[in-house]
């Protein structure tokens, strides 16, 4: 593999783990990504799928995609954002123009015909999830369409236009302190606030797929989408490209270009980060602009926001908003306070932007990783030590009670709620509901996607952390130092 291939795969790993990548002015998007160029020539890069398919292909194969939390509500709110931001229906929806959060909320209210505070809190929760997954960008009480909206295929734009046309216009009493037009104008005057164009985006699998006839090619693409986007590992028998060893080999090549590897669970397959690229991605120097260059509103990428949300949750001023959907401020407070905690105000805060982008490299914030570790200890390690978990797996039927996390750990409660929300949203934790009091969290479907080496490393890291002075930990350390001493490329 050449070094350019390598950096391309690492870029894909970073985009999958951390959301859209930031590109400096003039830096081209890595192969297999679309470049969303802003007026100042900087941009964001986002992976595209082979042969113009989207994850909705899974529906045709009746494979469940990664579940969307409160899907209906989230999509209705996205429709409301689209209605507000897609002003000129004769051009593509992205980038659209900024719209005030309050206008979006009023549009949503008109759509569902409810006006209570509960609906408002739900809608804000949905906006936050959309922001965290880069479907919208929310900052300073203003919403714009996020990079992922640029991935809607052109053929589907007609459907979206029709949808936007039939959404009701909100009735807006002119009561707001600042007029919508002024908010929009302010947002548009920011250098990166609006405008942009979509460039490139040809998937890079031409040479691999070109050798196959139409049918095989479709089978490969279907299997690719299934292993990459299905919630659970898919059955080998359902996909020709998984059954046939030659096709499976090609599938492996396609995945390798994206820093992924096929992972087998008996007769089921899924994909996960390939060990070498994952390691490279955590130590890799990114293609982004120099830190501190940005002086104005930076529409954040997803994980950056997640990291910030966690960091912000600890500080007292963020505490109230970070502690759960139910505690969001009521109607009538300022727009900014109503915006979710995941987002930050960055006017003149170039250092903040740099920090944010650094968080994007690692994906999860400190609290999120801490909570995930706790769930692994309670749901896997302890049942394992008690002999209750026969399967050699990181998934577990033993939920970690939320109360255990809340009362018997060193984590602040405010951080806990925000971290659980983020982890649930990413499919790293699944919520188990059982009765009134019971239930809790178990490791989520993402743990299917760990390679054997990663599973093993996770076990070792837990042992090193929980029993650092045991001989077992000493043996792990000894083996690791022996491995690093061996020449490795």
């Amino acid at each position: 593999m050449t070094s350019t291939d390598h950096s391309g795969a690492v870029a894909h790993v970073r985009a999958r783990a951390g959301g859209p990548l930031w590109l400096d002015a003039g830096v081209p998007a890595p192969a297999g990504m679309v470049r969303l160029t802003r007026p100042d020539a900087t941009g964001q890069a986002l992976p595209v799928w082979p042969d113009g398919v989207t994850p909705s292909l899974l529906e045709e194969y009746q494979v469940a995609p990664v579940p969307v939390e409160r899907a209906g509500e989230t999509r209705r709110v996205l429709a409301a954002v689209l209605k507000c931001c897609w002003a000129d229906l004769s051009v593509d929806p992205w980038p659209g123009r900024p719209a005030p959060v309050e206008l979006v909320l009023d549009t949503y209210r008109a759509l569902i015909g409810r006006t209570d505070d509960l609906m408002r809190n739900w809608a804000i929760g949905a906006l936050r999830r959309l922001h965290d997954s880069a479907w919208i960008v929310m900052s300073d009480g203003v919403v714009v369409l996020g990079p992922r909206c640029a991935l809607w295929p052109v053929e589907s734009h007609a459907q979206l236009q029709e949808l936007v046309r039939r959404l009701p216009e909100p009735e807006r009493p002119e009561l707001t302190v600042v007029r919508d037009a002024d908010i929009v104008a302010a947002a548009e005057s920011a250098p990166e606030g609006a405008g942009g164009r979509v460039e490139g985006g040809a998937p890079e699998f031409g040479d691999v797929l070109g050798a196959y006839d139409e049918r095989r090619r479709a089978e490969l693409v279907a299997a690719y989408m299934a292993v990459e986007h299905a919630a659970e590992p898919v059955q080998e028998v359902r996909f020709a490209a998984l059954r046939d060893p030659a096709l499976r080999h090609t599938l492996g090549e396609m995945l390798a270009r994206r820093g992924r590897a096929l992972i087998q669970h008996r007769d089921r397959w899924t994909s996960g980060f390939d060990d070498a690229h994952a390691r490279a991605a955590t130590t890799y120097e990114p293609l982004t602009r120099a830190d501190g260059e940005a002086g104005a509103t930076v529409p954040d990428a997803a994980p950056e926001a997640a990291g910030e949300a966690v960091a912000g949750a600890g500080s007292p001023d963020h505490h109230g908003t970070a502690s759960g959907d139910g505690s969001l401020p009521h109607h009538g407070t300022s727009i900014d306070a109503g915006s979710p905690p995941g987002h930050r105000t960055v006017a003149g805060d170039g250092g903040g932007a740099g920090r944010g982008r650094h968080a994007a490299e690692t994906g999860l914030g400190v609290s999120e990783r801490a909570v995930l570790t706790l769930v692994l200890v309670h749901s896997v390690a302890i049942p394992r030590a008690e002999g209750l978990l026969p399967e050699d797996s990181w998934l577990s039927p033993h939920p970690t009670p939320v109360d255990e996390l809340r009362r018997h750990t060193q984590l602040p409660i405010g951080e806990l709620e925000a971290a659980l929300r983020g982890l649930r949203h990413a499919g790293l934790l699944s919520q188990v509901k059982a009765g009134e009091e019971a239930g809790g969290y178990v490791p989520g479907p993402q743990f299917h996607r760990l390679t054997p080496a990663a599973r093993r490393r996770l076990q070792e890291e837990l042992i090193l952390a929980a029993g650092p002075s045991t001989p077992l930990a000493a043996a792990v350390r000894a083996r690791r130092s022996a491995q690093t001493r061996e020449p490795r490329g």
Partner: protein
Amino acid sequence: MRSRTLVPVPEEPLTLDAVLTDEAVLSTYRRMFAALARDSGAVVDDPALVDIAETLFSAFAEAGEEWLTHEQMRFACRAYPADQFDNRLRVLKGLGAVREVFPKPNQLRYRASFTSVVGLMFIRRMMSDGGQSEMHRLLALEDLNVADPRTTMEEARQSAVNLARAFRLWALELITLTTGTIEELREQAPKLWGTEEIARRAQGLHGTILTRWPELDRVCTDLRAAIYAYSDASRRAAGRLADSAGTTRNLTLLPTETWRTFAQTASRERLAAVLDGFVFDAPAPWHDPAAIARAVDEAPRPAPAQPTPPRSHLPDPGPDSALDSSPDAAAERLREVAESLLGDGSRVALADVLGDDWPSARRVLADLTTVDLRPELPYRLAWSDGLTIDPEGEPSWLSHGYLERT
């Protein structure tokens, strides 16, 4: 004295697990007393027998200077079968653990031996952790001993030789485990915990001896070698465990309490450090245009407010007062209806009694059907197959039927 009845203790069902546990306990007993036993069958063959001894000793402790009679001993051990108790008492008496208070004939009171009680405590502790904490205590005691100015060089030498021997044997056991099956190794792994500390203590002891009696150089070299061999063997055993394949299997090797302590006391940063360097997918759900349109179509519509039907503003008491709610009223009314239709006859055709407007005919039919369905009323409806159709008239369809008196 009140009379008491002995209640048989229900026997627990003997499971395979229970047998295995018992056997493990017994094998430790046998190994511990191998040096003292006269023949290989000399150690108890049921762990419950040791419990009897323990129960007896605690009864002796409570009795104080009252001592215990044979009956009192039997009462203290009432939970155990008589033959087991007799067997135990015989052995304990024979070995001197339980003795007569005064060595003279027909002595009825007994006392327990302090040495045996301490011995039993030691046995129980050895059972719980395989001798590891004994080794800790032993090292701590030896440390005190060699620091004591009264200790002679000969005593120190003996102590070093003993320790060297213990460590060598321990190391050999670990080496055997390392080369044995991985399952056995995993099972015996708790013997490995805390080895670093034991080795450190032993080295400390070694240092003390060597500083005080440089003449013991050769014995100390032996001890040092034994300690190293032991550390090395335990590291190798742990290394084999760490290498053994499996994703989460080694998690069993730390006890539950260690995991709990970690979860409860570790700082946020220490917990987070476990997942350093792991890469997970960021949340990236796909919102397809079709799915968005569907979600909008499926939006929960608020139920439209239903207008209340218009009501008159005048007071309207309604027919409430006109209704006779007495139990016989309904039957009486129906009888009147039937009688008025029948007149004097015993039979009347429905076609004759129904009027030519449907609303009143409907009411009459409803009444007659009710009459028919009430067995206590002496009227019946009889239907025939005939049917009159008259498109102009009302009702335009009429089945032929008769109201009859029965």
